[in-house]
């Protein structure tokens, strides 16, 4: 294998599994260390710079970082990254003086943001400090978009949402709330220098089953029902509720129903339990609130007898997987089963909808009605119109929308300044030794064996009475510290300098997880077989040195490295050093 080029920022970036997996590339270990040092405000700002909504995301993020977390490979459970973020948000001081300065003198460029969700707000956050004048349009009463209308208050209190939305709006964004944009042409006629469309995926899918017309008012589209609850247009539901669907919206629906009078609430899903799209923790929370999840049931019809809605019938199925892992739901052949209920909430998916974009404006659409948007620049067929968030490539999540917003802001800034829109900004990278002295590193290199700490919840008797009472209480500071210490500091990199190595092999012996091997060079496949402990996880890279005097190379399998620093500790010549690698995504104007 060729010697690894550690000058390529993406090499060490990939070693920081959590940050690499995060769409916005938040420097996770950096802020977790700050939390352990009780520097909550600093930890919050590291987050805020990167993901804009630490308080919101610390409660609601889809957490792509956690399945990626190295700790999950070493033991059972990853670090509770998401809930540590919340600790930073809940315990920070006033941050007003840390927010960017907004220039009084504007740069003369006007930008319109359609939709007030996370993507648009991120664009505003990046462009306002650069002197842009921004108009934000949204049909809701305030900012936040789907975070406001879809995420129930028992998961995300309104005060937390408003605080973080206001940090941005207070930069001087001109808001046009309660304003439905029903024509892109009208916006284009206002001659903005750039337009950003972040209108989400606002349409809930409908099943259109037999009997639906007769069942009428008893059948609700999940996301519409959630927003009508959020805006207090509805405040009750029948005692017996069936929720159709297996995603996170279904979980929000069933738990909200429990709070609005639903006593016998069931989630009924087509797929097997394990295949459900909902995050495991959201399923757990629903079941904790006495909501059974019934899997392998495909809905057949809504049953209405004598003009009265009775319930839903289902076909019982088995999941059959072919050799390629493709799933087919095969009927068991049993008779359909009826679940009696008063109301049905359909949470079977969302889709995009752009009825307000005239088809002759120049925006191009594909065969599925999705706008043609560049995946890097977020530019549409009209050069000064950009898309982001769910509106760009379909429903994802908040953190993805934030990542889109940052990149779209870069494109808009380039566009407005006559620069090449396709040009991306190189990431900010630093690599600094953490050695403080003998046996002393600037990070906590000990690896505690503590298992993941559970986030305490408020009493169910209390939370089920009032949909605005937050269920999760968040970690207390002592537990937060213990959980933070579980982080393996994957950003503190093992950096090897071959010219210093005397090949004493001390690092091989001391490495607790057998990551290091000295062996004659070979092709990757062969090299992986010669490792001190055979590699099974091929997604992690091998760090290969130049050839050493004894015609061997140093090979380090990054897979199981605990970043404990013992190799550097045991190295007599500092050929190994522990260096902190900080990778930051460069934002517009930086």
């Amino acid at each position: 294998m060729k010697a690894t080029n550690i000058k390529n920022p993406e090499y060490f970036h990939k070693v920081v599994d959590c940050q690499y997996a995060c769409p916005a590339h938040t420097p996770v270990p950096e802020y977790i260390r700050l939390i352990a040092r009780e520097r909550y405000t600093d930890a919050y700002m590291v987050n805020w710079e990167s993901n804009v909504f630490p308080g919101i995301l610390g409660r609601t993020c889809d957490r792509p970082c956690e399945p990626a977390c190295r700790r999950g490979r070493v033991e059972d459970e990853p670090v509770a990254i998401c809930r540590l973020k919340r600790v930073a948000a809940d315990n920070k001081d006033d941050i007003q003086d840390r927010l960017p300065n907004i220039p009084d003198k504007k740069n003369g460029k006007r930008v319109a943001l359609i939709g007030g969700g996370p993507a648009s707000l991120t664009v505003a956050r990046d462009l306002m400090p650069l002197g842009y004048s921004i108009d934000l349009y949204d049909d809701q009463t305030g900012g936040g978009g789907m975070m406001k209308s879809q995420i129930p208050s028992f998961r995300l209190p309104e005060s937390v949402l408003n605080e973080e939305v206001d940090y941005i709006l207070d930069m001087g964004v001109v808001t046009h709330f309660n304003t439905t944009v029903d024509s892109l042409k009208e916006i284009l006629d206002k001659k903005y220098d750039a337009v950003f469309i972040g209108t989400g995926a606002p349409r809930g899918k409908d099943l259109n089953l037999a009997g639906q017309a007769d069942a009428g008012a008893h059948i609700h589209i999940g996301i519409d029902w959630l927003s009508s609850v959020a805006f207090e247009h509805s405040n009750n539901i029948g005692k017996r509720v069936v929720v159709l669907g297996g995603g996170n919206t279904a979980m929000d629906c069933c738990r909200t129903a429990r709070r609005l009078g639903g006593e016998d609430v069931k989630v009924i899903v087509r797929s097997p339990f394990a295949d459900m799209k909902a995050s495991p923790w959201e399923k757990e929370d629903a079941m904790h609130e006495d909501i059974p999840i019934i899997d392998n049931h495909v809905p057949l019809a809504f049953v209405v007898e004598d003009g009265k809605f009775i319930g839903v019938t289902f076909d019982r199925v088995d999941a059959v997987y072919d050799d390629d892992g493709r799933r087919q739901l095969v009927s068991t052949g049993e008779d359909p089963v009826l679940f009696e209920c008063d109301d049905v909430l359909m949470a079977i998916g969302q889709e995009n909808s752009f009825p307000w974009i005239e088809r002759d404006t120049g925006i191009k659409f594909d065969e599925w009605g999705m706008p043609k948007v560049d995946e890097t620049t977020f530019q549409s067929a009209i050069k000064h119109v950009f898309f982001g968030g769910d509106a760009a490539f379909g429903p994802k999540n908040v953190i993805t929308a934030v990542a889109h917003g940052h990149q779209a802001a870069v494109s808009i800034d380039h566009f407005c300044n006559g620069k090449n829109v396709t040009e991306r900004l190189a990431p900010g990278v630093t690599l600094i030794s953490q050695k403080m002295g003998i046996h002393e590193w600037s990070y906590d290199n000990a690896v505690p064996i503590d298992l993941r700490y559970v986030v305490p919840q408020a009493d169910k008797a209390l939370t089920l009475k009032d949909r605005k009472v937050e269920v999760e209480l968040g970690y207390d500071l002592k537990t937060a510290y213990a959980e933070a210490e579980r982080c393996l500091n994957c950003d503190v990199q093992t950096v090897f300098e071959e010219i210093r190595c005397i090949e004493c092999d001390a690092c091989i012996d001391i490495c607790p997880t057998d990551c290091i091997t000295f062996t004659p060079n070979a092709e990757e496949k062969l090299l992986r077989k010669k490792l001190s402990a055979t590699a099974t996880n091929l997604s992690q890279d091998l760090y290969v040195s130049e050839e050493l005097p004894t015609h061997r190379v140093m090979v380090k399998d990054e897979d199981m490295c605990l970043h404990c620093g013992l190799c550097a500790e045991r190295c007599p010549t500092t050929a190994w050093d522990m260096k902190k690698f900080l990778y930051t995504v460069t934002k517009a104007g930086q």
């Binding site: 070493v74 033991e75 403080m436 046996h439 002393e440 590193w441 906590d444 290199n445 000990a446 690896v447 064996i449 005397i502 090949e503 004493c504 092999d505 001390a506 091989i508 012996d509 001391i510 607790p512 997880t513 057998d514 990551c515 001190s532 402990a533 055979t534 590699a535 099974t536 005097p549 004894t550 199981m560 605990l562 404990c564 013992l566 500790e569 045991r570 190295c571 007599p572 010549t573």
Partner: protein, 350 residues
């Protein structure tokens, strides 16, 4: 600030026949200097014992005084241990071996502990063919007292802050051959591939097995003018040949070209395969070993590998005809068989 070994291990770490991982043979985290050759030897001992599937309770590690003699703390944490007086480890092993012949005795010593203060003890243990492995962690200096030359420092070799040594060095391998050791080898802490099979063979050998391991002192004796530095040793190594050790219960899987390999079967049924042997070197011949050592010395080279072994060696217990059962298991009934037996003995002497 922390200096401790994390508890987590690689999920694919090798498990031996007893169900133990290598970590079960590790000891406390070493406090020797970073890069010390002794730590590599400790690592090789851990590997050898793990691969041989030795039950930790069946082994006793004993040492004297010095950096080397601290080392047993850092391996085989579940075995018996005895850190004895300076240079007196062989006496303690002798006593222990007499009391319980069933244990495996692993003595760890340094060049000071062996070639100076413990010289008298060392040669007599070798001469009596005490059934033990005697590992010398040989760095040519007194690391624990700031690196003064030891008796194994080569003439002309200079440590970091010292003058060239004016004296002839003691060659522990040659010496032990002369006094009757039945397994003699030399190795280098930086050559794990050679050292691990040597340790395994030494453990299986019945009788006194010496492995003299050049083990650079990174702090006081790893400079350019030293003949015990990593660089010097690597550049001047000459191997007697290559050796594989196959324990008795394992099937022989390696293939050797016909005529290229020499098999030696040990008393416990294990087999040593010797191949790529140098010209004129016959490890079953004491004279050949002594000649090869002297020739290499003349050439300024360090001869490593298996130098000599006597597969038919008779260890101390056999020589003095002790009972098969370990003495510490004999009860009062056997040890004090009663007046009538005494009367018989007395009668036989009249």
């Amino acid at each position: 600030m922390s200096y401790e070994r994390p508890k987590f291990r690689h999920p694919n770490t090798e498990i031996n026949d007893l169900g133990y991982a290598r970590q079960d043979y590790e000891g406390a985290l070493s406090t020797l200097c970073a890069g010390c050759g002794h730590d590599s030897i400790s690592g090789a001992i851990v590997r050898a014992c793990h691969e041989l599937s030795i039950e930790p309770y069946r082994l006793a590690k004993l040492s004297g005084i010095g950096c080397s003699s601290k080392a047993p703390t850092y391996f085989l944490g579940n075995s018996h241990g005895f850190n004895s007086v300076h240079g007196r480890m062989p006496s303690v092993v002798t006593g222990a071996a007499m009391a319980n012949r069933d244990l495996i005795y692993l003595g760890v010593s340094g060049d000071g502990d062996t070639a100076s203060i413990g010289m008298g003890q060392f040669v007599h243990a070798a001469r009596r063919n005490l059934n033990m492995v005697y590992i010398v962690m040989n760095n040519g200096c007194y690391g624990l007292t700031k690196g003064q030359d030891s008796a194994t420092a080569d003439e002309g070799s200079r440590s970091k802050k010292g003058d060239p040594s004016p004296f002839e060095s003691i060659d522990l391998c040659a010496l032990s051959l002369q006094v009757g050791a039945t397994f003699v080898a030399r190795s280098f802490s930086g050559d794990r591939d050679q050292l691990v099979p040597l340790i395994k063979a030494a453990i299986s050998h019945r009788g006194f097995a010496l492995i003299d391991v050049v083990s650079p002192c990174v702090t006081f004796n790893n400079n350019a003018d030293s003949t015990k530095s990593y660089d010097f040793t690597r550049e001047h190594l000459k191997s007697t040949g290559t050796m594989d050790f196959v324990p008795m219960r394992e099937e022989i899987t390696a293939r050797y070209a016909p005529g290229s390999s020499h098999e030696v079967t040990l008393h416990d049924g294990s087999v040593i395969h010797l191949y790529k042997m140098g010209k004129g070197i016959d490890p079953l011949n004491r004279v050949s070993a002594l000649n090869a050592l002297e020739e290499c010395k003349q050439e300024g080279r360090i001869l490593t590998g298996l130098l000599y072994m006597d597969p038919d060696s008779k260890e101390l217990h056999e020589a003095i005809g002790t009972v098969k059962r370990p003495l510490n298991q004999l009860t009062e009934r056997e040890l004090c068989p009663g007046n009538s037996v005494l009367q018989n003995i007395n009668a036989s002497l009249r």
